[in-house]
Amino acid sequence: MINGTPVILVLEYVVLALPFTYRTLDAGLAAISLPTLVEAARSLGASWPTVLLRVIVPNIRSAVFGAAFLNLALVLGEYTLASILLMDPFPVWTVSIGQSEAGVSVAVSLLSLLVAFLLLFVLSHVAGRRKASRGVA
């Protein structure tokens, strides 16, 4: 069945990602005056899907990006459960290749560090520019 297929990894990652996603989005929502914005949009004629897509999501954009990058970093480093599930994603593969070719293992580890650093840099740049353009004190 789903054992041994990537679907099992998706299920695992979803469960792992939930608390991080929840905390990040919750903080994003707390930073805007949500009830008033929703009610203003409703009184202007917005349906519930429109409220979500045109009012809420654009105003918690950096929280959505934050959650996405956080989860990417989480998934990139998740070894234990993937290994137990007998899957072979990036971290598991890095360890197994390290047993025969140590150089390759070191190289991809370094590469993953650089990618993670780059992602965080992009994220903080995006969030920072947004703050600057909004002039949040």
């Binding site: 005056s33 009610e39 009184s43 004629g45 349906s47 909004r134």
Partner: protein
């Protein structure tokens, strides 16, 4: 200044009637047997201490609050089952209701965009409304770049942009400082007379209510079962229009 607001259909305000409204939050009764009639084009202020149910009454009319019993008639039709998004009510909140991600102009045009008005037409309308509230130079700014008074002007323009049947003002001045409050109060009245829109204005400030409204409804804290507002005519009736023209 000629604007779209002076088209005939915008001139005729709707009539509003609240009949025997009851609203309870668990054990707490906001009001029971609330009756209120607003004639077309009239500005009625609801005045009362906090917790007397005046804001709840306004939110019931807006469709943002459910009602346990009673009728809400707009132009003689019961709108109790109609969702807020279909009631065509323009609402101005206490504060911070502008969409932070949109410019002033896009905020005003938001309701028109939802109604499928073409880009050029809705931007033209948004400009006219901003001119009406005296904020044309700020149309490209974002809400956080405006003062509190300016933000409330934009919120007013945004509410009027959809040519609502009724204008609902939920303590729109209470977050502002005294000088701005007086200016904006006079300006709201001037605009309301000009557009001729039926308006419900909720406030806890007696002077504010008396100076802006055609009639003032006073609500008492609802320890008593019935909260029927008692009415006093405002000192400035609609007939004294000329004194507002300046």
């Amino acid at each position: 200044m000629k604007t779209v607001l002076e088209t005939p259909q915008a001139k005729t305000g709707a009539s509003v009637e609240l009949r025997g409204l009851r609203r309870e939050f668990g054990e707490v009764r906001a009001f029971d047997g609330l009756d209120l009639t607003i004639s077309p084009g009239e500005l009625v202020a609801l005045l009362g201490p906090s917790g007397c149910g005046k804001t709840t009454a306004l939110r019931v009319l807006a469709g943002l609050e459910a009602v346990d019993a009673g009728e809400v008639l707009v132009d003689g039709t019961d709108v109790v089952g109609v969702p807020a998004s279909k009631r065509e009510m323009g609402m101005v909140f206490q504060a911070y209701s502008l969409f932070p991600n949109l410019t002033v102009r896009d905020n005003v045009a938001f309701g028109l965009r939802l109604r499928g008005v073409a880009t050029a037409a809705r931007q033209k309308r948004a400009r006219e409304l901003l001119e009406l509230v005296g904020l044309s130079p700020q149309e490209k700014r974002y809400p956080h770049q405006l003062s509190g008074g300016q933000q409330q002007r934009v919120a007013l323009a945004r509410a009027l942009a959809i040519e609502p049947r009724v204008l609902l003002l939920d303590e729109p001045l209470s977050a502002l400082d005294a000088l701005v409050r007086t200016q904006l109060r006079d300006e709201i009245r001037r605009l309301q007379l000009r557009v001729g829109i039926t308006t419900l204005f909720v406030t806890h400030d007696q002077e504010e209510a008396l100076s802006i409204a055609d009639r003032v409804g006073v609500m008492r804290a609802s320890s008593s079962a019935t909260a029927r507002p008692s009415f006093t005519p405002g000192p400035r009736r609609r007939s004294s229009r000329s004194s507002w023209a300046r």
